[in-house]
């Protein structure tokens, strides 16, 4: 399982390094979305750092959706699916590998976006650093949940088209938890409850992924 996970993660990251989609395409999008979000809310609200965490996670959500799409479309080029299916890769390993690659990519974009929100939205630097561990865990959770839902939404000929709708409600609690713990780090307040939510979700999604990814791939 670990071997397959490593193989898949390296492959995904290599394709990313080759095509530079994250670097040239998704990241600038995130930064500009942050800028626009600041503008859309107007100078009055954007200036107050209270909007920072919310906007950061909103933009992260968009970036995550783009990256999930990209991560799944790699597997769906015509012909690729059949060829790779005959390798009979361990689905748990595929899940972990894809989630790992997505986590790494989200971490990179998360760091850039945090930098952006410190510079553009005047989020306090020390609070941001304090919130960093919780943010990284939240992003990892989004990545593993995203990999699962991504697999659900692929091959969309049949009734599977309805499934993307499920992604966002699943992300909602994660985003809220992430936003609350980020806010708590900025303004003081109880942190650990949100940590529990996110860590439990991470473990749960990984467990479900390891157990059920095979069922999804099968379809």
């Amino acid at each position: 399982m670990i071997r397959v996970a490593w193989l898949v993660a390296v492959k995904d990251l290599r394709i990313e390094a080759r095509s530079r989609v994250l670097l040239w395409q998704v990241l600038p999008f995130g930064v500009i979305a942050l800028l626009l979000a600041g503008l859309a809310l107007g100078p009055a609200q954007a200036g107050t750092s209270s909007a920072g965490p919310g906007l950061f996670y909103l933009v992260t959500l968009f970036v995550t959706l783009l990256m999930i799409n990209r991560s799944q479309s790699l597997e769906n080029a015509p012909g690729t699916r059949a060829s790779v299916a005959t390798l009979g890769l361990d689905p748990a390993g595929v899940f972990l590998g894809k989630a790992l690659a997505l986590t790494v990519e989200l971490w990179v974009s998360g760091l850039v976006l945090l930098g952006g929100s410190v510079l553009l939205l005047h989020t306090a630097l020390t609070g941001t650093l304090e919130a960093l561990p919780s943010i990284l865990v939240t992003l990892a959770t989004l990545a593993s949940a995203g990999t699962l839902y991504g697999a659900l939404t692929q091959g969309g000929d049949g009734p599977a088209t309805l499934l993307p709708v499920l992604t966002l409600p699943a992300f909602a609690p994660l985003l809220i938890a992430g936003e609350r713990s980020f806010s708590a780090a900025l303004h003081g307040g109880a942190l650990w409850e949100w940590w529990v939510v996110v860590v439990v979700a991470l473990v749960a999604y990984c467990a479900v992924g390891i157990l059920l990814y095979g069922v999804l791939e099968e379809s």
Binding site: R20, Q25, P28, G42, A46, H122
Partner: protein, 238 residues
């Protein structure tokens, strides 16, 4: 004539810039309110002028000339590309000098001010232009797409301008020449600014020329690589 101008471009640029710095730092007086900070006046506005108008203007004109069948040439594409690259540098310099100025005067490095935001957006345009170039391998496709993109950017410059004009702004308005046409700065300051404007504009063209030459020699290198590839290609299957 052309040759002489060509040869003189570098030295004249250096001379004017040196003159700007000398006059800016030693000849002109400090401001009553701003003190020595006012000396940024000789650097920041000229750099901003080059970043926005000179370089974007050059890139847009070159792109239009590329798209017009009669004047289409690789040179135009190259000029647009180089101008846009230099524009990135100048926009960054604008932001940096502006921030340095803003910190003591407004108390923040960055604010959601119309002018600052629109400058940043233009910077993103320039970066997007470079990203678009990277994303296309075929030289013809790349040239056409980036030319159209440059023109779309040009449309946006006035739109950005107008969409922020009505927005209350922190940034300096037209302060050198007031609407009554009256000069409200000290004589030596005005001269320094003027020399600065000319100096930085020449600096742009000098950089453009050097960058252009670099690009030409790189294209030549690419061509030799293509020739090599051609040789292997011809030997394929033979």
């Amino acid at each position: 004539m052309m040759k002489v101008t060509q040869r003189l471009l570098g030295p004249v640029t250096l001379l004017l810039l040196a003159l700007t710095f000398w006059m800016g730092l030693w000849v002109t007086p400090p401001d009553k309110v701003q003190g020595n900070l006012v000396r940024l006046l000789y650097v920041h506005p000229p750099i901003a002028w080059v970043a926005l108008y000179v370089s974007f203007g050059t890139a847009t004109i070159a792109s239009c000339l590329y798209l017009w069948r009669r004047t289409r040439s690789d040179a135009m594409d190259r000029i647009a590309h180089c101008a846009m690259e230099i524009s990135v540098v100048f926009i960054v310099l604008t932001l940096v000098t502006g921030s340095i100025w803003g910190r003591p005067t407004w108390g923040v490095w960055w604010a959601w001010d119309a002018r600052l935001t629109s400058t940043a957006i233009l910077g993103v345009f320039a970066l997007a232009y470079l990203a678009l170039r990277r994303a296309n391998d075929d030289p013809t496709v790349r040239a056409r797409r980036s030319a159209v993109f440059a023109i779309l950017t040009a449309i946006n410059v006035p739109i950005i301008h107008f969409s922020v004009v009505w927005w209350k702004t922190l940034h300096q308005g037209a302060s050198v020449l007031t609407s009554t046409g009256q000069l409200n700065v000290h004589g030596s300051m005005l001269w320094t600014m003027l020399i600065g404007f000319v100096g930085f504009t020449l600096l742009f063209f000098w950089l453009l020329r050097e960058r252009y030459r670099l690009e030409v020699s790189r294209d030549a290198r690419v061509r030799t690589r293509v020739d090599e590839a051609l040789a292997t290609r011809r030997s394929e299957g033979a």
